[in-house]
């Protein structure tokens, strides 16, 4: 079993290294940070000093190794804009983002999973069709469109809710709804198909044939099996808690990590962008790890594979 964990941890570390490397390469190749930050009119000696201060004149591989060396020591660099540690800038934005993504996550789970299960159990019924149509709509409409529609209806037309900003809890309602509705749709679709797949399995018929009541068949035979694929999509949703709200934060002028990322990319603020990417990669990888272990917990077939190691 230890081997199973070690391999997965190793793979997770490798993923993080690759993500950071990718971000490093793409950002360095896409333009000169000195010019981006100081502007094309900046005097050459100022540009040179800036480049020297940020080691931008070093060979790219040296910058790369320096960067990893610094990360290993826990130094994630300073913002090229205001000189503050990048990690500080990012961390202070996280609560704002979580204030949107966490309630949205619970909203998705509380709405999407029951809707999916209900639709599967009443396949072909009016409610199933309604759930599926809503889910397809929620699935295909981009979040900025949904955000704008919500703003138009609830802020502009009805005037019930503010259209942007972060002054009170009322400001959070529309962004949370935008995030939650799309996610719930995805989750409902996923849960429904996982559930239908399981309900068609011979062991469900076996359970019915031995006299288990339908309610029991659903709760103790179908749900534990349908949970296995559903956990995958849940894990993915947990992975997007930090940076999954880029679009929504921008639309609603919500000062979270997503907006920081947009601004930092526009400014070529390498340290901040890399710091956010690192954080995102780590949450993604961590949630994937958790999903892997949950699989082992939910599915004895996978557990057995680990045990052989």
């Amino acid at each position: 079993m230890g081997h199973f964990f070690a391999i997965r941890l190793g793979r997770a570390a490798l993923t993080i290294v690759l993500v950071v490397t990718f971000a490093f390469v793409v950002l360095r190749l896409s333009g000169d940070p000195a010019l981006m930050i100081l502007g094309p009119e900046a005097p050459p000696e100022v540009l040179a000093a800036f480049r020297k201060a940020w080691s931008l004149d070093d060979p790219i591989w040296a910058q790369y190794f320096d960067y990893f060396g610094a990360i290993a020591k826990g130094e994630l660099g300073r913002s090229m804009r205001d000189g503050r540690p990048a990690i500080e800038l990012v961390l202070e934005r996280i609560p704002a983002t979580l204030a949107l993504t966490l309630p949205a996550f619970f909203f998705k789970v509380a709405l999407g999973i029951p809707a999916g299960i209900y639709a599967a159990l009443h396949r072909g019924s009016g409610i199933d069709r309604a759930v599926m149509m809503t889910a397809v709509a929620g699935f295909t409409v981009p979040s900025f469109v949904l955000a704008l529609v919500l703003v138009l209806v609830f802020a502009v037309q009805l005037g019930w809710l503010p259209s942007g900003g972060q002054e009170s809890w009322r400001h959070a309602i529309l962004p949370i709804a935008t995030l939650g509705l799309g996610g719930a749709a995805v989750l409902a679709r996923f849960t429904r198909s996982a559930m239908l797949e399981v309900l068609g399995q011979p062991y469900i018929r076996t359970a019915s044939a031995k006299g288990v009541s339908w309610r029991q068949v659903v709760t103790s035979h179908a749900l534990p099996n349908a949970a296995i694929p559903t956990v995958t999509i849940l894990g993915f949703m947990v992975g997007t808690l930090i940076a999954g709200a880029v679009v929504v934060e921008s639309v609603f002028a919500w000062p979270g990590v997503g907006r920081l990322l947009v601004v930092a990319v526009a400014n070529r603020d390498l340290a901040v962008v890399q710091c956010i990417l690192l954080l995102v990669a780590m949450t993604m990888v961590t949630s994937n790890l958790v999903v892997d272990f949950l699989y082992g917990f939910l599915d004895p077939r996978l557990r057995a594979k680990g045990a052989h190691a």
Binding site: H3, F4, I7, A304, K305, G306, A307, H308, A309
Partner: protein, 328 residues
Amino acid sequence: MSAPFVQVSAISRSYAMRSGMFGRSTVVHAVDGVSLSIPKGETLGLVGESGSGKSTTGRIVLGFEPSDSGEVRFDGKPMAPLGTAAWRAQRARMQMIFQDPLGALDRRLPVAAQIREPLDIHDLGMPAEREDRVRELLRAVELTPAHGARYPGALSGGQRQRIVLARALATKPDFLVCDEPVSALDVSIQAQVVNLLADLQAELSLTLLFISHDLRVVRQISNVVAVMYLGRIVEIGSADDLFARPEHPYTQALVSASPAPGRRSAGRIVLAGDPPNPAARPQGCTFHPRCPRAIARCASEVPALSSIGGNRQVACHLVTGAETRDAA
């Protein structure tokens, strides 16, 4: 007796298999020293349970899978190296038919186009003649051009297997390997396909290697039958004789396990134990842990396949023990 058309000499195939995702790898002996010979126009039946290596043997004979040792000779010549022009020419003369015709056909193409495909690939006949050839092949498998225009999904299981057969016959092969060709079909349809195969064999003097777990079907179509167990041939002999008087305890159990109308299960030999696992092959005679008659020698010494008269060969110490001692 003339030289056999297909001569398989001591072919073996083993591969490493890992148990679990990170388990230690074990060597699986899928096929171990199998020799067979099939005279032109005859059928050799290969029977055995899952894990016996019968399908792997079929694939090695056709060159789909390499053999670790031994050789396969076809029409007196050794098989050309895989992928060469000579190999392609040889391969056009031998074809394979599988159990699942739907899996072997492309669902998005009318079946006539799929029968035609090998003609285009091997550039056989003038393009204008190929349409006629497709019609002729459809007729040969007792279907009409109307069937040819359909997609595989619109045909029944038996009709699909006929299409697969027609496609296999397109290159005018001399040799067919049939791996469980009728196992997925219902009895009445199975009989249609078996009869058709027998007719085509007589008409085109095809040589067949017929692989199946179904003793009845194998007996129906084969001249000689070989019984495999865990990668080795344990008994081989002419079909009627082998099933009437099986000598090897495994063959006896197989024949006895085959249910027959009009016979109640009294006196049936029921073997204990699980089906054989090629990844954990017992020492000595691989059948000894399940053999009701095993003796000490069976656990340590692999019995050789030896002739016991007629054209019967058996690999069992209990059957051949006396003879081999005499010969020594």
